[in-house]
Amino acid sequence: MMVFMPQRQRFRAPALCAAILMMLGVSSAPAAGLPRLASINACTDQLLLALADPDQILGLGPYSRDATRAWRAAAAHRFPQLSGEAEDVLMLKPDVVVAGSFTKLATRQLLQEQGQRLETFDVAHSLSDVKTQVARMGELTGHPDRAAAYNARIDAALARARRFVARRHYRVLAVSRRGWVAGRRSLVSSLLAEIGLSSAAGDLGLGYGGFASLEAIISLKPDFLLVSSGSEFAEDEGRAFLLHPALEHFYPPSKRIVVSERMTVCGGPMVIEALDRLVAELKRVERDLCRAHTCRPATLRDRQQR
């Protein structure tokens, strides 16, 4: 990202002009023949921000500026925020509209009927899905080189994480608000599996994800919980679930791996950060574990497994 920052600065003024022109319904000329795109989905927003030149981006989805869930919310502020419906997209006349497979079908059909080129991205369930999507967005934006660079960095982050985790076999349960547990086919579980941690979700019988009760989570006894926030503030009852005294009894902050939703909710270059964060958090909780007990049992088990 550091590489692209100076470029972003330089393009600020033209992008602003483009935005104004777009509001007037005037299309600016495509930069150096590269396609101009609009995104109406939270995950395609992030792929577009990472891979396209600023003047290729005509607009981003309605959630692009949500700092808790959008990875590059700060960068999204300079682009028009779209409603996620068909109207404003049609006014922009982009070369390509990128959407998610959960974007309303009616919206997508309407866009296609109007002769708009539409590219739909599925939800990424695994790291290989993520890399495929990065490559695909690289092709769409005309920057396959950037996509390849990101994918190389994803591989490197994965290798780093695997090197660290190889000896350990912790059972981790990824649990979010109201007890939602990500199933085996989710990106979070796939990240855990890729680096050799076992997800406890399978033991709950939740292949595709589902709600687990407090009692079930406690009796399952995973080594650590993977949560999206370490905050003690319960903004609603769903969040209060994770702060229930019974859960905090067995899983105080020292047993909670915190990886922000920003890094896991979508598949994209943010998985690099997610993997690094996962390892950093594992180091932290492991250090706490060693401080509280002796680390000998874990290493003994590792030796046996080897």
Binding site: S213, E215, I218, K221, G238, P245, A246
Partner: protein
């Protein structure tokens, strides 16, 4: 005199039986949950024995749930009986008047503004204020000696308004998980509550109960008619304000931790009238006990009915309550018809 003594003995018998039933249901409630435990293991965990996991499950998850079920059922039953006594009207109940719905709106407003933790006292306070406001507005709109029809229509309007306002407040908040949260506030649930929630609700419920019970004598005098009550030294206007305050405190405190749970307050007094008679003063305690029993039963049932996602306890109480309400309307049809003519 003999019949009076028999009636008193019967009332005592009813109360003792209800206390035993509520105690039994509370114990059953501790034994029911996603994790299957034997009754002996549950008792062992309750007194601090057994493993750490069963102990935490029983003491930290199921015990607060049982306490809340008992306390909230009781205050709803008590509020229903007090309102029916105050308005001398068997169709009165907090949920038909929109009090729980308004309380939920108060709580949701605090959440939507994002200023307070959902486990802070801001929630019950906001809920109580809105509950008070709703009953106050209802009585102001319907008037002192309002007929059944007017009360029900005004109550329907207030509860619909409060329900819509709740949904809208959640929609306008920045919370993206709004659908599930709305379901919680509109349908009510005792799931996964903790002792923090108990501490949040219980003081207000207890205060509301004390206030309502203290008005026993005045409510009995009122059952003779407003003028007779006044001649007996009851300040009817003050009584009205005191009962509304008691209902608002109890219902507001309850709703702030469980969302709206309807119809307990309507059913409980009706179940008790054939057993203890029509005196509003003598109806209060049995109604509270039967309300507690009803909510505990409903909350046990939602955990036993096999389902893919958890059934909200408010759904069950409405499923039972609405047909009962329709039956009451049928029974009161003549009076209702008279009201129109």
């Amino acid at each position: 005199m003999v019949t009076a003594a028999v009636a008193a003995g019967r009332r005592r018998g009813v109360i003792v039986a209800l206390v035993l039933l509520v105690a039994l249901l509370a114990l059953v409630s501790l034994g029911v949950g996603p994790v299957r435990m034997s009754p002996l293991a549950v008792l062992d965990a309750l007194v601090g024995g057994g493993g750490e996991v069963p102990r935490v499950i029983v003491q930290e998850i199921r015990l607060p749930r049982a306490i809340l079920g008992l306390a909230i059922g009781a205050i709803l039953g008590l509020s229903g009986a007090a309102l029916q006594g105050l308005l001398r009207n068997p169709l009165a109940s907090p949920s038909l008047f929109g009090a729980p719905q308004a309380a939920a709106f108060g709580a949701v407003l605090v959440i939507a503004l994002g200023v307070a933790d959902v486990r802070s006292y801001a929630l019950p306070v906001a809920a109580i204020v809105m509950a008070f406001l709703s009953v106050f507005v209802l009585l102001a709109v319907a008037g002192r000696n309002a007929g059944l029809l007017i009360l029900i229509l005004a109550g329907l309007a207030i509860s619909s308004l409060a329900g819509s306002a709740t949904a809208l407040a959640m929609n306008l908040s920045r919370n993206p998980f709004v659908a599930l949260e709305i379901a919680f506030w509109l349908l009510g649930s005792l799931e996964d509550r903790s002792f923090r929630h108990v501490m949040l609700a219980l003081p207000f419920i207890a205060a509301g109960a004390v206030i309502l019970l203290s008005q026993r004598g005045a409510l009995r005098a009122l059952s003779l008619g407003e003028e007779s009550a006044q001649s007996l030294g009851v300040d009817v206007a003050a009584l009205r304000l005191i009962v509304i305050t008691g209902v608002a405190l109890g219902v507001g405190g309850a709703v702030a931790v469980t969302g709206t749970i309807g119809f307990i307050g309507l059913i409980a007094p009706h179940l008790m009238r054939p057993l203890v008679g029509y005196d509003p003063a003598r109806l209060l305690v049995p109604s509270a006990l039967s309300g507690a029993a009803l909510l505990l039963m409903a909350d046990i049932a939602v955990r036993l009915i096999p389902s893919t996602s958890d059934i909200k306890v408010g759904v069950l109480t409405s499923l039972i309550g609405v047909p009962f309400f329709l039956y009451l309307i049928m029974r009161e049809r003549r009076r209702l018809g008279g009201g129109v003519a």
